[in-house]
Subunit: 200 residues, 2 copies
Amino acid sequence: MAAPIEFLFEFASPYSYIAAHRIDAMAAQHGRQVNWRPFLLGVVARELGTIPLTAQKKKGNYSAMDFARSARQHGLTFALQPGFPHSSVQAARAFYWLESRDPDLAKRFARRVFDAYHAEGRDMSAAESVADLAAEAGADRHAVLAGIAEPAIKDRLKRETDRAAERDVFGAPFFFVDGEPFWGNDRIEQIDEWLRRGGW
Amino acid sequence: MAAPIEFLFEFASPYSYIAAHRIDAMAAQHGRQVNWRPFLLGVVARELGTIPLTAQKKKGNYSAMDFARSARQHGLTFALQPGFPHSSVQAARAFYWLESRDPDLAKRFARRVFDAYHAEGRDMSAAESVADLAAEAGADRHAVLAGIAEPAIKDRLKRETDRAAERDVFGAPFFFVDGEPFWGNDRIEQIDEWLRRGGW
């Protein structure tokens, strides 16, 4: 059985949102599973001294347009929130807490967070908001609230973020396919071809 | 007749090199011509305060790897030159001088410059080197040397670069399809779909 594709993402990243709606279907065509791994892009970016895409001159305006255009290309609704990007710490902690109990539920929760934040204008920064979204995905709201406050879960997210930095991840989404790194939603077509051809 | 696709590029840009080998074939499938427009990305980048991709922490190493991997994907040889990126001023001037006389020859020359610089390790920064490449593409070496020294040609390149900046171009390659902006070699698939669907 071929190794799963590693999907490293940031909940606040619009291109991660789009990729989250595409990666499992593409992987399935090659008989691959996908390991979802949220991390904190803001922490990585601070270490590198990079600033959010939307804050960059000219590229920022282009990106805001391209977020929406690329979302529409794949049939997805997108609206850039005022104050973007918001903290995804609580959402990412909740993901790992849920995953340790029910991996399928964790993915459903992740999709709920992505859609809520990027398409519906919902908050994901507050623990209470994240608990609401977890409940909508079918989780126990109170258990999630307790779970994301556990030191072990906080430590888990920290380790995942450190690990991403150690692997030279500098943006999101970021994929590893049998160790080969690919950066960006717009690399999904390339990964598809990579898997079809067995590399090149 | 549908309007030509505008292909704005920088001769020193690896992704422009790859795109130069792909854009005309893709455009032809939609009955479109391509207007090739070299500009000086370095001038635009200085105004924006951006630094070359290869000089960026972590992203630099990834990009150097991705240049080569994306080139191989399309059957192209690539080798990053020591001292990258080199000045493309003379090559871009020669392009506009040739284009004013023989547009097909100008495209052949542009492809020769791209291959010589990105695949063969040849110089393109000196006027003499550019004249050699123009001769290899079938142009009159001495006429090209005289042409690129003309004030009108120098002014032409300056205007093209200013115009790119005015249109909020911040990277290369950059495409305009009926006025719609697309940035990057990895957007050629998206443009292909855009033309097939008539936008979305």
